[in-house]
Point group: D2
Chain length 298, copies 4
């Protein structure tokens, strides 16, 4: 889930309420907040804490809420984890710290120290495209033995890594393997992965739920139709502008075009200026994206 | 296809003959020689030329032969391309030059200069894990307009790149999109890719042909069974030893365990020594790998 | 300056007092706190604020105090900057945010937004070995026009970059160009750089002050003698253990061997265990490192 | 030394003769051919062999000739080494193979296999900015024990690496440590390095010889004057255009502006087109670069 903002340290409160209801109306199975798409590292800790509380209050148990606690500071990770537990969140999501890159044995020790100090289950988060250390398969295998570690979300885009991980974890069917990039949701679930964490579900929650369910049901024709839509969105809506931030800016801009929430983006990025916004507006129309889903899928 | 060697500059001739017949007996749709698995960059140009000629002579038109011509030297690429045409090969495979990394516009110009000077069709080869420049989707789109460029093999392991490429090339169904890593063959073909170039087919050609055909036929239960075997091979046979060369060494060692060809590996690598060879031998047995295919699939 | 700790979120207060007096007794021209060697990203914001205040109180104007404010969150950077100004610090040090990597134009905008909101002068910090965006020479040139930006510390280890930067900034002799790695202090100052920020000065402040002064005075024989000592320390004391954290662990361990402060290192790292500590202890003796400086230079 | 070309596979013979005489007239202590600046990887092996022979014939023992033999193929490296020995070259220069990246132990074995098979002394070549494996200090230490290995040229631009290497090799004063990037020649020699291999000496050989001699004589005022010129050339002449190839294109273009040799650059690069050539022409004039050296230093 994105973090709707109106200023560097201020939430877009009406937007946040609309966004949560919009996503839940689409039938998602859970909410992941304070991840990369949620711009967590760009937010003050004060705002992160406020955000966790507001989301949990509004969701009120309708779906599980997963809270990202990744931070360069062990103590700040614990602080967010404590707040999450206090306000009724259901699980935590943890990538390796991203300033000092730990060696693999150091990374395992880090998990062995941190996880026992939090009270909620922990989902690991593999993000090698970001400046965090990858969780190598053997380290995941070892980490899965720490009580409280329940799965891993992989955003590496490296499917060989994911397939290898499935093989290494074959004897642990209870360990959830989730996919980050939404263009890889279909193949993940078709071949034994457990689900996905799709940024695009901020905009079109039903599309991703339907795709997941079709893949889980091995309904290949439906998968192909919906997968093609997802890739098309990625190839257009998320590729405006020339920086790595185009996904985030495009997604928030599209949400704003649909009057769901503000497109304010925290530093070091900025919302799209008018020329890019015009391209996004046109693309939203061409793709048939509405608050109620994709026009031609209804 | 691997390149069977008995010395740094000498082919394993009986092994080469056995290997070709072994692979063709498995029903493959073509042979790709002088790629990364073929150790092309490690071989002298004299040996590369000899090898192309011997392979084409023995295959004798039974399946198409694709010849890797990637080189740091434009002139040497043309030389191999000429030899390939002279001895009856069917197509060429070309990655970007890998010492001086060309910018994307330079890369397009490079293709525009080279492709018209060769007489065989050219398959592009995207290999960002190797020190070659990636072909960005927009450059592939432009390169596809050069007469003679017929497709692209992607070995990046980045499925997001591949799915994006499919979307960008949607209006060019004649442009072949092939997958390098064999663990990604199943999902590639299930969701619209055209095929794969599988190193493991040196060892178990029928397994990869069967997997391709099941995926093309959308026979999901068979795909799942065969895909699991492929991943298992990757998670065991190719992961002995601690260097990036473990795939190549493991594959050649397994071929040698089956008495198909020599396990000599060209510098800067070396064949496995006895401890690793013993692990490979045991793994081959445990996986049920025989000259006739996987024991438990028969 | 390192941050002396006794627990993840607790300062080593007596150690901090001893460390400051030890360093000031060596004649340094300033103190840089909350940098990489200060483990800033690993510390809670609460502790960072406490630390700034304690250091400024104890230094009490004897030398300038520079405070690192680099953070992934713009708001948290402003918070530390405000605290630094409140407690009497003299300048701020700012690298680019290190989770989301800004493009070069985004980076310039980031500086244009942040610097006017702080009241102290800002020294840029180039750290491409860490996961932060490099400040390209043209961006430094543009950033130098923002009022308040007074110089740059380069820790890239890439001397070509530094020499190029000197040439590009030749018309701005007021813009300070400082060196991070202490093994490069001698050549930096010999050829026109303005100084260095030497982690080793925690241990041997006089050595680095003397080396700077010899280089500034173009006293080449003295430079050669002291420079050789500095490189020797780097080649031994900072190279124990096999991870990137060996510099930090070795430095804190040596400070602890001299009873200056605790060797506690924040997660994701850990202090050296006994075998590595024994090597450090021996190396400290062999190099003749004492609280009063290098034995053989006295 | 650059490789003067008139076509992809054809030397600029009159240009080559003029270039050699131009460089030798500048007083250089040796010639290094077929390195990165010599575009060796872009040339056919036939042309590399022809080039070695022509250079050795014309130099005729006036200065030592060092020949780059780096290649992805062990056999081709041996072939060039043999040719170099046959035509009277004095030494070989060898980086690690650059397609398959060897692990450090594999790299040491590679040297242990190759060096005994060549008859000329070998200078190692550290080039981590190119896609070759770095020679780690401990591997250099071990490689120095192979008879025939006489030194190392470092083009990493990482001065920390170079200073560390000097410290590690302190007990081997016979082992030559040479610098690649010419902007680092001054500080290299001032602090104990043995010399440099300067691409700019194609254009202004006397400048680099004078700088070396001033640094060797510890004549700091002269070093500062000449060093400033060298950096200025790097900051202007080598920074036209936006690709990594700007150094090579700028250097060849400047040589052509002085009518020394052709500016033809081998694929995947191309000579500068007219707009960039015009900038180079103007820069050459502004810097006062003439066939006889820098105008204002005469």
């Amino acid at each position: 889930m994105v973090t709707p903002l109106v200023a560097p340290d201020e939430l877009d409160l009406p937007g946040l309420e609309r966004l949560i209801e919009h996503i839940l109306a689409g039938g998602v199975h859970g909410l992941f907040i304070l991840g990369t798409t949620g711009e967590a590292p760009s937010l003050s800790h004060r705002l992160r804490h406020e955000f966790v509380e507001r989301v949990c209050t509004q969701v009120n148990g309708r779906v599980p809420v997963l809270v990202g606690i990744t931070d360069t500071s062990f103590v700040e990770s614990l602080n967010v984890a404590q707040r999450a537990a206090d306000v009724g969140a259901d699980a935590l999501v943890l990538a390796s710290p991203y300033y000092f890159l730990a060696g693999q044995p150091e990374l395992l020790e880090y998990l062995q120290h941190l996880v026992p100090q939090v009270s909620l289950p922990v989902l690991l988060y593999n993000m090698p495209n970001r400046p965090t250390a990858v969780f190598e398969p053997d380290i995941v295998k070892a980490a899965a033995d720490i009580p409280g570690v329940v799965g891993l979300k992989d955003s590496s885009t490296n499917m060989m890594y994911f397939r290898l991980l499935q093989s290494v974890m074959e004897d642990r069917p209870d360990f959830s393997l989730l996919m980050g990039p939404e263009t890889l949701l279909a193949e993940t679930v078709l071949l034994g992965g457990h689900g996905g964490v799709c940024g695009g579900a901020n905009l079109l929650p039903r599309l991703y739920v339907d795709l997941y369910e079709a893949a889980a049901a091995k309904d290949l024709p439906t998968v192909e139709t919906l997968h093609r839509k997802v890739v098309q969105i990625n190839a257009t809506l998320y590729r405006v502008g020339r920086f790595a931030s185009s996904f985030l800016k495009g997604l928030k801009c599209a949400l704003s075009c649909l009057d769901i929430c503000s497109d304010f983006v925290a530093e070091p990025f900025h919302r799209f200026r008018e020329p890019e916004r015009e391209i996004i507006r046109r693309t939203v129309n061409e793709l048939g994206i509405t608050k109620d889903g994709l026009a031609d899928l209804k």
